[in-house]
């Protein structure tokens, strides 16, 4: 098993991003050690997707610094794409093409040799349970299967870092289990993973490091055990972002009394 070392592969300092008047990220700091399984959790609109997009070189940060294996994504986004595999929140697949054609196209653009690509696609299909879906147009595939195809696309070039934005969203329990096992195996091989998710029990099982993001700010961060401090992740999460508002009185809501 690869042990998490002290070498930092991803470092973020003072990262800020606004969309008009909305502050999506407000000077956040992150440090992801090599081989870590880093989970980024937070309520809806906390800034998780924006963070992943900036780290992937899809969006530009407006202030602060990002270093990804020494590379600044805003200065050299093409180099970053070689180092990182990304499963974004949207599914960037060509719907009319089959899953296999999508994977072949992406591998071709990455410059992978054809034979090697065919071999890797077969392996990934087996690992992700995609064998039956490979030759179907993406249009016909379920949301969960499309996620798995996108994950396969992100892994094709064997990058040292994987960014996964909500990989378990819309996934059935069996597929979630397949992905979970695959991610655990990748970590065993020394791949550094950064994941955003709302599925807290899964995060608790997989993550080695954790950051809780709230309203664009880091509410808590560090190794999982330190952040949890003996609590469950749900308890730590609620403590960091605050208790939900008390349920309002919905006395008007009675079956058949909606008119």
């Amino acid at each position: 098993m690869v042990r998490t070392g002290q070498e930092t592969v991803l470092e973020v300092r003072g990262l800020t991003r606004r969309f008009g008047a909305v502050v999506a990220l407000d000077s956040i700091d992150l440090a992801v050690p090599r081989g870590a399984f880093f989970a980024l959790v937070g309520p809806n609109g906390a800034g998780k997707t924006t963070t992943v997009r900036i780290l992937s070189g899809l969006l530009r940060g407006q202030a602060g610094e990002v270093r990804l294996l020494g590379v600044d994504p805003s200065r050299d986004p093409f180099r970053v794409r070689e180092l990182v595999g990304v499963v974004p929140d949207f599914l960037p697949l060509w719907e009319p093409l089959t899953a296999r054609e999508n994977l072949l196209e992406i591998a071709g653009l990455r410059g992978l040799p054809r034979q090697e690509t065919v071999h890797r696609i077969a392996d990934l299909a087996e690992a992700l349970g995609l064998a039956d879906a490979l030759d179907q147009p993406v249009l016909q595939l379920s949301h969960g299967t499309r996620k798995k195809v996108t994950l396969a696309a992100a892994m094709l070039h064997a990058p040292p870092l994987l960014f996964l934005d909500e990989p378990f969203e819309g996934i059935d329990p069996v597929a979630a289990r397949t992905i979970r096992h695959l991610l655990a195996a990748l970590r065993e091989r020394g791949v550094t993973l950064l994941l955003t998710s709302h599925v807290l029990p899964l995060v608790e099982t997989l993550a080695t490091h954790l950051a809780i993001l709230d309203h664009g700010r880091i509410a808590a961060a560090g190794p999982l055990e330190e952040v949890l401090a003996g609590r469950t992740l749900e308890e730590a999460f609620v403590a960091a972002v605050g208790e939900p508002a008390p349920a309002p009185d919905l006395s008007w809501y009675r079956p058949g009394g909606g008119r």
Partner: protein, 506 residues
Amino acid sequence: MTRSGRLVLLAVRLALARWRLAWQRRHGPAGMLLGGVGTLFAWLLLAGGAIAFAAVGTTLFAVLARRGDTGLAVAVAGAVADAAAVLAVLAVAAAEETHRGIPPRPLLLLPVGPGDRLLAETASLLLAEPLAAVAWPAALVPVLGAGQVASRAALLLALPAAGLLLFLAALGLAVRRLLLAGGRHRLATAILSTGIVFAAPAAWLLGSWREATNLLRLEGGPWTPGWWIRHACREALAGHGAALLPGGILLLVAFGLLVLAARGGDHPAIPGAGRPRRPPRKFPLATAWWAARPVVAQWMGNGAAALLVLLAAHVLARQGIPWPALPRVAGGLAGLILASAPAPLFANLLGTGSRGVLGLLLAGARPGRLLARLALAAAVPAVVLVPAVTGIAAWLLPATGAALVLAAGTVGALGLGAGTGLLLSVAWPVRADLDVPGASLWPVGPTRWIMVAVQGLALVPFLWGAAIPGAVLAVTVGCLAVLGGWHLAGRVLHGRVLDVTESLLT
């Protein structure tokens, strides 16, 4: 129909559905009934224009028939058939955009029932085919007029009258079905609609130009549906058995349209029915054909239009028009039409199907490689179409230089379009979804005019003739433009890939 037009229609539908639901909430079952009746009334009000047109048309034909002016009545019948052929296509095309341009997702959240669907469908028919409603009374004219003529002529008139009636009915049905159908039928529609829309007015103008009095007699040129009707009716009124031939041909055409309509799918996208899923398509060739669907449809439509231009020039040339430059002008125009087929995609290579392109950008594709791949995919049909149209030009307009102008002009315009489009697409990417059938592929802004103006430059070398040097110059300029544009666009994209992804994501 413009985007704002589609939005207005969608807003009207939403408002009506909400109004009906509000009645239902306030007044229970009685409100539901009243709301349903009110919605029907509102739709009928919207369709009132069409009904009024039909009434006016019928009155006009009845008056003509009573006056016994069979000559004018027959001419009007022919003219109406031609107008119906052109405008029915346009009207139904607009209806298709209304249906498919915006997925009626908001309506999916409302409890829209089968009754609403039926009403929406009926309203669509009434709104979309007013021309068919206007046109069918024209079929009565020869029958009514037959009372004024000899019994043999009356008998002979039955065939063209039946042909006209069937033709108009079949036209409305066939075009509507074709336009609402998916997949390969939509490709056929692109060709048919382009053909009909361009052919009928062109034939009309040609016929009128040949003999100025044709315009006064409301007569168009040869080979339009109206021409067949007039020809058949006149032969019949003269008591000639020759009326059977054009009448029979008209019947055959109508029968063909009916068969086409029967084979075409009929899956209109109506509120509540959800957005029809495009049938999956497996690409038989390289995966670089990612953009095949819109590109091929665009190429085929423009190819049909280019052929019509050549055909018109051929007819004019045979009439001995004293304009030596006519074949060259026609060749250049046809070339420009052909080369403009991939122009909208060239101008927005990165924005078209933005999610897929984002995937390719995420895959770390090198800018030059990515742009070349996308541009080649958009231009691939040219390999087949340009030689084919050039060959037809050489056959229709032999020894006039038209084929040379067409071939070289197309290559030059394609090169200029690709070079300029590559630069525009990296400088100004606009998110455009390929999955919205019928939506315009053009990005917003002045790109359309820039592309038309730049592609038109390819014809400048031919202003002074169709000589070889002009062709060489046009092709050379095109090649230089595409190489320069590609090189420069690659460098620009490398420097501003983040700006591109930002504009596609935010």
